[in-house]
């Protein structure tokens, strides 16, 4: 049996190598000094969907809400073998909060056609607070699992997945169609690691037109879709001065001492 998936993919600021001065005095990031990247958790989500397709057949569609900045995540998805991509672009989205994005994503999913699996990464940087995927699943009325670490099997109208919980893992079966909000903890040489772009696809897909929808195209009214959240200001997180202490020695006693000190701390 073949399964169709829709994956929500996002482009985020690349915060891996921060240079001095990126945080302005008002606490906001000076984004002119940042580049962007494909959200790594969405890449893991995409890989999960592609593996379902590889094994069972079906399609993978990538959906992105918001204009592309530097890295076009939809094109990058095409280079990894998805079947179709759609982008929602609208001025409204530039300042939209997570609820607006989730509403747009929901309508877009409905327009594409409801999938067997809706998959999104969990921890997305850029102030999403991990809301959009979950919220979209909620609006779509899909049963959902969060913190999905791996998809164990899929069949007989259900997906069995392993989700991370405090202090361990839990195996859950969820009936399809379903939403999986994934937070994969990748290990070294992990079979869940996202595949890289394929040269041939890149050569063939670099100019493929990408279908774009506005908020109105989705049957939503840009005038009334407004933000639920209003941001009145941002305060920088106080930097805590942390005194590091070095415990000399490399034996078990030193280790025990460190654990003891951490406990008391």
């Amino acid at each position: 049996m073949a399964y169709n998936s829709i994956v929500l993919v996002r482009e985020i600021w690349d915060t891996r190598d921060l240079l001095d001065g990126v945080v302005r005095s008002d606490g906001q990031a000076d984004t002119s000094r940042l580049t962007t990247r494909f959200d790594p958790e969405d890449l893991n989500a995409l890989e999960m969907a592609l593996q379902v397709k590889d094994e069972h057949g079906g399609t993978v569609t990538a959906l992105s809400v918001g204009a592309s900045r530097e890295v076009d995540v939809l094109r990058e998805s095409l280079y990894r073998g998805v079947d179709a991509v759609y982008r929602v672009v609208d001025p409204v989205l530039d300042t939209a909060d997570t609820s607006v994005k989730a509403t747009a994503a929901t309508k877009a999913v409905e327009k594409i056609g409801r999938p067997d699996l809706f998959i999104a990464g969990l921890n997305v940087g850029e102030g999403e607070n991990s809301h959009v995927g979950v919220h979209t699943a909620q609006l779509l009325g899909l049963p959902r699992a969060h913190y999905v670490d791996r998809l164990q099997s899929i069949g007989d109208g259900a997906a069995t997945c392993i989700r991370a919980i405090e202090g361990g893992y839990e195996t859950v079966a969820i009936s399809l169609p379903a939403a999986l909000i994934v937070g994969v903890a990748l290990l070294k040489e992990d079979p869940r690691a996202p595949r890289s772009a394929k040269a041939r696809l890149k050569l063939q897909m670099k100019k493929t037109p990408i279908e774009q929808w506005s908020i109105a195209d989705l049957g939503l009214d840009p005038a009334t879709i407004g933000n639920v959240t209003i941001c009145v200001g941002v305060e920088p997180v106080e930097q805590r001065a942390i005194d590091s202490r070095r415990i000399e020695g490399s034996d078990e006693a030193a280790l025990k001492q460190m654990i003891q000190e951490l406990k008391e701390w």
Binding site: L19, G57, G58, S196, A199, R200, Q204, M205, K206
Partner: protein
């Protein structure tokens, strides 16, 4: 039918993906291996001539792991004449210095010119390769080439035997092969692909075996005003200081300090095997260099932003392999085209050779002949250009550097102590001070050796 409807259709019968994705061999006019200055210049030339070109770069993006200090821009200014407006250049080099470091003392000479403060700034800029190569790659893409980043070429694929053997494509790690009429090898200093191709195609290696220098550098950020104060610079000025002396004692090599916009580059390059002889690690040398009072003053209080290291082919002219085979050309560091004299010129040579290879490929394509003979004009172009002329002029450099190790330690420290002794303020008479200084200067070096060394060292200039 709408795209969405189409998709829904094959969700019912998911027989075959989009027609574009049909499993077929992909063949381009040219493939370039390596998205550094050499590869991108080759790609620009070929794409500009209307060829379909793919640039395979193993880094996540071009420049991700590339390292260098100064960029000489004479060739770049011909490839992309607008580079001064759009390239991410840190600062032009409007003042240069040579400095000799003793343990605590130092001496230096500085020179510059007003003309260097104006376009084209003596064609010398400090650049950060992560930004510069990325920009260059973007320009190459605009000319029509396709950047295939994050792709590691493992090997070339061949057809034919003996004199007709030729590469027809490349094997990419975890991916299908790609095919092309002509391949430009520009995989830089650590050129595994080129190395194998030389063996496979039986190309002759240089008369001398290639040896390597290790280049290490740090980027240290400093507030702009502080930096301009410390180096005595106006906002659109920059300086480059080259060092030899004590921190590099026993090594064949030297250090440098270059100014970025809001950061300082501190680094050095030295012959790889001399580290072993001296039982020091590059990191230790870096520490000693950066802790030297003459260097520390510039970077004090700054933040370390980047620490990187890279190999540099340092044997020059005599180690250059045959650069052309059937359907293939070798450019840049992969061919060892680095001038290790006092000019340390690599990236400009890389660009010149890449461009020459690209232009040759475009002509070969018109004639429909990519045989070794048809690609010979690449070598002729290079021989006629400053690249091979300079490399030939400096062909003795590696030998001189090896045979006069005193050049990097004893001599500079002698000059240094001569100056320090000469200008020592004391109650002794000047004549006495000077006589003693000169005596000390001359001690410990046999006269003949000194003269012989000076004669040898002229070849570095």
């Amino acid at each position: 039918m709408r795209f969405a409807d189409k998709l829904r259709n094959y969700s019912i019968a998911p027989a075959k993906p989009l027609s574009l994705m049909d499993e077929e061999q992909v063949k381009l006019d040219a493939l370039v291996i390596g998205g550094g200055p050499a590869g991108l210049s080759a790609a620009c030339a070929m794409a500009g001539a209307g060829m379909e070109v793919g640039v395979l770069e193993r880094g996540e993006f071009c420049g991700a792991k590339n390292v260098s200090g100064l960029l000489y821009t004479t060739v770049l200014s011909e490839i992309l004449p607008d580079y001064l407006e759009s390239a991410p250049l840190e600062r032009p080099v409007t003042r240069r210095s040579l400095a000799f470091l003793d343990r605590e003392a130092y001496w230096s000479v500085s020179f510059g010119s007003e003309a260097w403060c104006e376009k084209p700034y003596n064609h010398t800029h400090v650049v950060y390769r992560a930004q510069f190569d990325r920009w260059f790659a973007g320009q190459t893409e605009e000319l029509g080439a396709t950047l295939l980043e994050g792709m590691v070429v493992e090997n070339l694929l061949y057809e034919g035997e003996g004199a007709t053997k030729r590469p027809v494509g490349v094997q990419i790690r975890d991916d299908e092969p790609l095919y092309a009429d002509v391949i430009v090898l520009a995989d830089g200093a650590n050129c595994m692909v080129t190395d194998r191709a030389i063996n496979e195609l039986n190309l002759s290696r240089g008369a001398q075996e290639q040896t390597w220098a290790v280049g290490v550098k740090q980027i240290i950020s400093l507030p702009r005003e502080k930096l301009e104060d410390r180096f005595n610079l106006e906002p659109n000025e920059g300086c480059a200081i080259d060092y030899i002396g004590v921190p590099f004692e026993g090594l064949v090599g030297g250090g440098f300090v270059y100014t970025g916009r809001e950061s300082v580059v501190v680094g050095f390059a030295a012959k790889a095997e001399t580290f072993k002889h001296n039982r020091v690690s590059p990191a230790q040398v870096m520490d000693a260099f950066i802790q030297h009072p003459a260097v520390r003053r510039y970077v004090q209080g700054g933040n370390l932003e980047e620490y990187s290291a890279h190999m540099i082919p340092e044997s020059g002219y005599r180690a250059i392999p045959e650069m052309v085979g059937n359907h293939v050309m070798i450019a840049g560091d992969a061919a060892g085209l680095v001038n290790m004299s006092m000019y340390h010129e690599g990236s400009n040579h890389a660009m010149a050779s890449g461009r020459a290879a690209g232009e040759t490929a475009a002509v070969a394509r018109e004639a429909g002949d990519f045989s070794k003979e048809a690609l010979q004009p690449y070598v002729q172009k290079l021989r006629a250009s400053f690249v091979m002329r300079d490399l030939s002029k400096y062909k003795d450099v590696p030998e001189v550097m090896d045979s006069v190790p005193e050049l990097f330690s004893l001599y500079p420290s002698k000059v240094c102590s001569l100056l320090i002794d000469f200008f020592e303020v004391s109650l002794r008479s000047k004549a006495e001070v000077q006589k003693q200084a000169i005596q000390k200067f001359l001690s410990g070096v046999p006269k003949l050796k000194g003269i012989r060394d000076i004669w040898k060292v002229r070849k570095l200039i």
